[in-house]
């Protein structure tokens, strides 16, 4: 038997594990799904792609009983069913990993897994469950500590918990909504191993992702969605990235933007000099070890690394929302090290695009206008003598919405109602509108569609060309090599590099991300211009 690698287009048509036919869904005036369909064959990995807002997540929420469709049919194993609730979907063997995590932050990993299990006795056998989690974690290469609290985990680690939560249900149909968005290439590779093993066991998998190369690697077939409709399903073996991008967006897309040479340094001085920074994380464990680097005007320093290796701590210290244990950093020509606070960072022209868009980068209940002015509201012309000038705020917001092509119904709409890509544009618009001298961007393209990624990369390069020093923290090697003028790797809290982009290759950076020491130990503070 050909270990699960069944030829997907071989006659006769294979049985369907899950079939969605002509699904419709409206939210008020907004038509999220028009005629979306999907037929998931047994034992295949079926990718779903589409721009942000194309309806992928909505369709998957219908398939897992979170949303009730306004029209259309759902069939599981060929039998029409009504997925009245997520529990019903789970009983039918449908499991889902959501893009933003559905975890109780104040509870342990074990508690969170326990929460989703049916028929738990009053006094559950926690020890056995802990063993089961460790077993699953070990088997699938998803290391999680069952006793850690969720709030202590990095975004990447929380993702692993979500995956374990689904695996523990023995789901026969597994839906993964952008599972690799927070994983590094090597972690994604491990996940693919897990998925292939599951597929070999006969599990059917729906895989949503924006990363087209990844889809081509892992999937058997690919469905493309646009504006709430399924515009086509193609066999993976007979398609290309270019064709997929064209089908998704409806035009050709240029992702590989070749950055021009960075500005010559000349007599300029570094914008930021970090020396010997060490820090502990929320659990009290050392998270940063003696990190030193500098940042010059008009360059992008890309810091590659798997999340949870000190990125959060480093960026929070630079932005002032966390204090270092030892070490310091200096801004511009200042001789004295600064004691940073978010307020001072904002005042010194440091902009920050945080990893957590929905709670930190924006206030979901406040309007788009308020969110676009989250940092400027206390300055003239928006605030005079303690009173806000609503008109000036509105005009500024309208201008930014226009410039950055933020798609929204109106400016008073709560920011929480925006799609991920549009929300990120709100944050980027706000941070760049302040013409920062330093921009710290953490995974700015995570979870965005190819069209938005193109826009964000263009914006970052434009900021660099205007003389902004950009620190780009990313888990995506493509992004690191596409944008970085100098590339550093953060692993286990220690920084290797930065090296000029031409002097390192993807393999060595990938190895360093995974923890291998770099052979060339020449950390260059003064790069040849």
């Amino acid at each position: 038997m050909d270990r699960g690698r069944r030829a997907p287009d071989a006659p006769p048509p294979p049985e369907c594990a899950l079939e969605l036919r002509g699904i419709q869904k409206r939210f008020g005036q907004f038509r999220a799904l028009a005629a979306a369909s999907l037929s998931l064959w047994k034992g295949e990995i079926h990718a779903v792609v589409g721009e942000n807002g194309a309806g992928k997540s909505t369709l998957m929420n219908v398939a897992t009983g979170i949303y009730q469709p306004d029209g259309g049919e759902v069939l599981v194993n060929g039998i029409p069913v009504r997925l009245s609730s997520p529990r019903r979907a789970r009983e039918l063997g449908i499991g889902m990993v959501h893009p933003h995590f559905l975890l109780a932050r104040r509870h342990t990993v074990l508690d969170n897994v326990l929460l989703g299990l049916p028929g738990v006795p009053v006094l559950p056998d926690r020890k056995a469950l802990g063993e089961r989690i460790r077993g699953l974690a070990g088997r699938y290469g998803l290391p999680v500590d069952p006793d850690a609290f969720v709030w202590q985990l990095s975004v990447g680690e929380q993702q692993r918990v979500e995956i374990v939560k689904t695996l523990i249900h023995d789901a026969r149909i597994l839906i993964l909504d952008e599972p690799t968005a927070v994983l590094t290439p090597s972690e994604a590779g491990e996940l693919f191993g897990v998925l292939r093993r599951l597929k070999a066991d006969g599990t059917s998998i729906v895989f949503i992702s924006h990363k087209l190369e990844e889809l081509l690697e892992i999937s058997d077939r690919i469905s493309i969605m646009r504006c709430g409709e399924t515009v086509g399903t193609v066999t993976t073996r007979s398609t290309t990235t270019g064709e997929l991008a064209r089908l998704m967006v409806g035009r050709d897309v240029v992702l590989d933007q070749t950055p021009g040479a960075p500005a010559a340094r000349g007599t300029a001085r570094p914008l930021l000099t970090v020396s010997g920074l060490s820090a502990i994380n929320d659990r009290g464990v050392p998270a940063l070890k003696d990190v030193s680097f500098d940042l010059w005007p008009g360059e992008i320093v890309a810091i590659a690394g798997i999340s949870g290796n000190g990125q959060t701590e480093l960026t929070e210290i630079l932005y002032g929302s966390r204090a270092p244990v030892s070490g310091s950093f200096r801004l511009g020509c200042d001789a004295a090290p600064v004691t940073m606070s978010p307020r001072r960072a904002i005042g010194s022209g440091i902009s920050f695009i945080p990893a957590d868009r929905r709670r930190t980068g924006t206030a979901p209940g406040l309007s788009i206008t308020d969110n676009l002015l989250l940092k400027s509201y206390r300055e003239p012309p928006y605030c005079r003598a303690g009173f806000l000038d609503r008109r000036a705020m509105h005009d500024h917001a309208a201008e930014l919405v226009d410039t950055y092509e933020i798609r929204c119904a109106c400016l008073d709409q709560p920011a929480g109602t925006l799609s991920g890509g549009n929300l990120q544009k709100v944050i980027i618009a706000r941070e760049l509108a302040r013409s920062p001298s330093i921009l710290i961007a953490v995974c700015p393209c995570r979870g965005l569609d190819v069209g938005s990624i193109e826009t964000v990369r263009r914006i970052l390069l434009a900021a660099r060309d205007r003389g902004t020093g950009v620190i780009l923290v990313s888990e995506d090697l493509d992004e690191v090599f596409c944008l970085g003028d100098r590339i550093a790797v953060l692993c286990g809290g220690a920084l290797v590099g930065p090296f000029p982009a031409g002097e390192v290759d993807r393999v060595s950076v990938g190895l360093m991300m995974a923890g291998a020491r770099c052979g060339k130990e020449g950390t260059d503070a003064s790069r040849p211009a």
Binding site: F27, G28, Q68, R82, S84, Y319, S321, S341, P342, R343, A345, I346, F352, P354, D356, R359, T360, G361, T362, A363, P364, G365, L366, D370, L374, K375, Y377, R378, C383, G386, F387, L388, R390, P414
Partner: protein, 347 residues
């Protein structure tokens, strides 16, 4: 039957949901009145007439509206920032004690008397709230517990004073009467005092504060997402202390109006649950400053009408408390129906 989430509710839908909730609460309370052998329709009619049917009834409802409204404004303001001030009762008592101290023992010149009394009461209320807010801002002690506990401390202080050093010459737990200069003028023929004007003015000021000022923006931001607020560089600690102080000052003023406007001395029962009822008022008003005025009037009427039916129909006081509680629960429940649509049948 199932609930389907919907978009932001229209104003009409909100009003409809609250109205239906009130009808349901009244219906449920009817069962209690029936069990007591009273005709519920008659009881409700008597309550409405008692509270709003005559100039006297309306004026008394307005008098009760003042402490409820002032405390509710403070609670609602703190709630907009994500803080639970359960301590309006104690802050009201602290305000009343401070007002009494100024009126009876400091005895400032007549022209400055009411102003100093008000200032002292506001400061005392603010101070009482600050005890809790400082613990919250610097050590992270839950303000829900600390404000609640401080209520009992304030009441104990009050009882010590009126049974002890401040006790008047007769047998009852009151102080002596204040000098006339500390008595607030009344609307002729009623007990309506300037507190009513102060309440309306303060409600409008706070509404403007939330809508148009920098502090208001910061309050709404912190209330919506504390981490976004830190990220935006909002001074969290000083804002917690400031907002709780405003909240406490409002309750302190409520205590001042009770003693200088109505009692003219300090009784041991200066705060018969106003601070707690005000929590209900603030929540029913959805933490909206102007909404607090309207709901406070309704609850003022409920107190007056309730007292009325106690006398005329001999309905026990507890039944009115039950009605209050039912209104609270059903209006809170109505929030679900504002944000969700009910669909019947399969699919």
């Amino acid at each position: 039957m199932r609930l389907v989430r919907r978009d932001a509710p229209s104003a009409l839908r909100s009003v409809a949901a609250v109205s239906v909730a009130c009808v349901i609460a009244l219906g449920l309370a009817s069962l209690i009145f029936l069990a007591l052998g009273r005709n519920p329709l008659e009881a409700y009619r008597a309550m409405v007439v008692g509270a709003f049917g005559s100039w006297y009834g309306l004026s008394e409802s307005l008098v009760r509206m003042v402490p409820l409204g002032l405390c509710a404004l403070g609670i609602a303001l703190a709630a907009r920032m994500g803080l639970w001030n359960i301590g309006a009762e104690g802050q009201l008592v602290a305000g009343a004690i401070a007002a009494t101290w100024v009126a009876l023992f400091l005895r400032p010149p007549d022209w400055s008397m009411v102003w100093l009394v008000a200032l002292a009461a506001a400061c005392a209320g603010a101070l009482w709230a600050t005890l809790a807010s400082v613990l919250r801002a610097w050590i992270g002690v839950s303000e829900i517990l600390s404000t609640l506990m401080l209520n009992y401390v304030a009441q104990a202080c009050l009882e010590y004073l009126v049974y002890g050093p401040w006790k008047g010459p007769d047998r009852f737990p009151y102080t002596v009467y204040f000098p006339q200069s500390a008595w607030l003028p009344l609307w002729p023929g009623t007990r309506i005092h300037p507190g009513l004007v102060a309440l309306v003015v303060l409600a409008v000021l706070l509404w403007v504060l939330l809508k148009t000022t920098r502090l208001g923006f910061e309050i709404r931001l912190t209330g919506d997402s504390p981490s976004a607020s830190d990220y935006a560089g909002v001074p969290a600690r000083s804002n917690i202390v400031l907002v709780m102080a405003i909240s406490g000052a409002l309750a302190g003023l409520a205590g001042m109006f009770e003693v200088t406007g109505l009692e003219h001395r300090l009784p041991h029962a200066v705060a018969p649950g106003f601070g707690y009822t005000a929590i209900i008022v603030a929540w029913l008003a959805r933490r909206h400053m102007l909404g607090c005025l309207l709901v406070a009037l309704v609850f003022g009427g409920l107190i007056v009408g309730g007292e009325d039916v106690q006398i005329t129909l001999r309905i026990p006081q507890g039944a009115v408390g039950v009605l209050q509680g039912l209104l609270f629960v059903s209006v809170l429940g109505a929030e679900v129906f504002e944000h969700h649509e009910v669909r019947w049948g399969r699919r």
